[in-house]
Symmetry: C2
Subunit: 164 residues, 2 copies
């Protein structure tokens, strides 16, 4: 088991230096999303090709959560996304190095268009990190920004707030 410790921030419209990082296109859906477990199917597409992953996450405790990740065939992941997921999230992920860490900046498309969120993964909950100039309000504990939540309650239905 991996333990996932993440902090999540909204992203300001300027500066957008994070766009210079390597980009991946992510398409993902959920086979389960309840309080005790989340089961995610994800296809990643980059200049290096396509991969697919099945990820299982346990209950969230603060910024920490158990996570198990397994590679699966892309064709099987696409079948699951098409037949077992009621809604699918589509986003571009930019990898933005900043000091010792690499931020993942997710620019959402489709029903979540307009939303840009940055995540940093830490080794412990009290690990220090520098906040980039484009990082805005922290939303780690705001469940509306969970991807599992965005798949059924997308940003376009919120009526705000602005991410800038």
């Amino acid at each position: 088991m991996g333990i996932e410790i993440e902090r999540k921030f909204l992203v300001k419209s300027e500066p957008d230096s994070w766009r210079q990082g390597r980009a991946l296109r992510l398409t993902q859906g959920y086979l389960a999303k309840d309080k005790t477990s989340v089961v995610r199917v994800r296809v990643t597409r980059s200049s290096e090709g396509e991969e697919a992953w099945l990820t299982i996450k346990g209950p969230t405790a603060g910024a920490t959560r158990a996570e198990y990740e397994y590679p699966i065939p892309v064709s099987e992941a696409r079948e699951m996304l098409d037949t077992m997921c009621d809604s699918v999230i589509d986003k571009t992920r930019y990898l933005a190095p900043e000091g010792q860490h690499t931020w993942e900046v997710d620019e959402f498309h489709g029903a979540n268009d307009g939303l840009i969120v940055a995540e940093i993964e830490l080794d412990s909950e009290d690990e220090a990190f520098s906040l980039p100039p484009w990082a805005g309000q922290e939303v780690t504990d705001d469940s509306r920004y969970y991807n599992s939540s965005l798949s059924s309650h997308p940003f376009c239905d919120w009526g705000g707030p602005s991410t800038s």
Copy 2:
């Protein structure tokens, strides 16, 4: 993707020749069980050792259903069973050869004690097969006998019917 075509029957108390087959102990729980998908974690224990599998099943259509199965580390499966599954099914599976097919006869323990169910996997819905002398009523379409259902509505709570 595999396509799972199964028929399921209750098992009479006599004859119990199926007990002579190879036996596996199965412990399994569910990360998801809804109409569009079932996500099962299973640990199998036999004289040959332990294995664990993550299985994803699509919607049921008659006796047919899409199925995807991936091996995972036993230690991770046990963590998921302990922390993400509200109830766990425990059963002994006997493999009973009968003509061209091998039946799987599941004798349940714990909250499903007293229930014995046999399944045969077919290549097509109209494939012929011989019914063993210990096979009783067919329950293929009875959702109460789905393992995902037995985990939350166990046999001990039914007040019958008898399996003999």
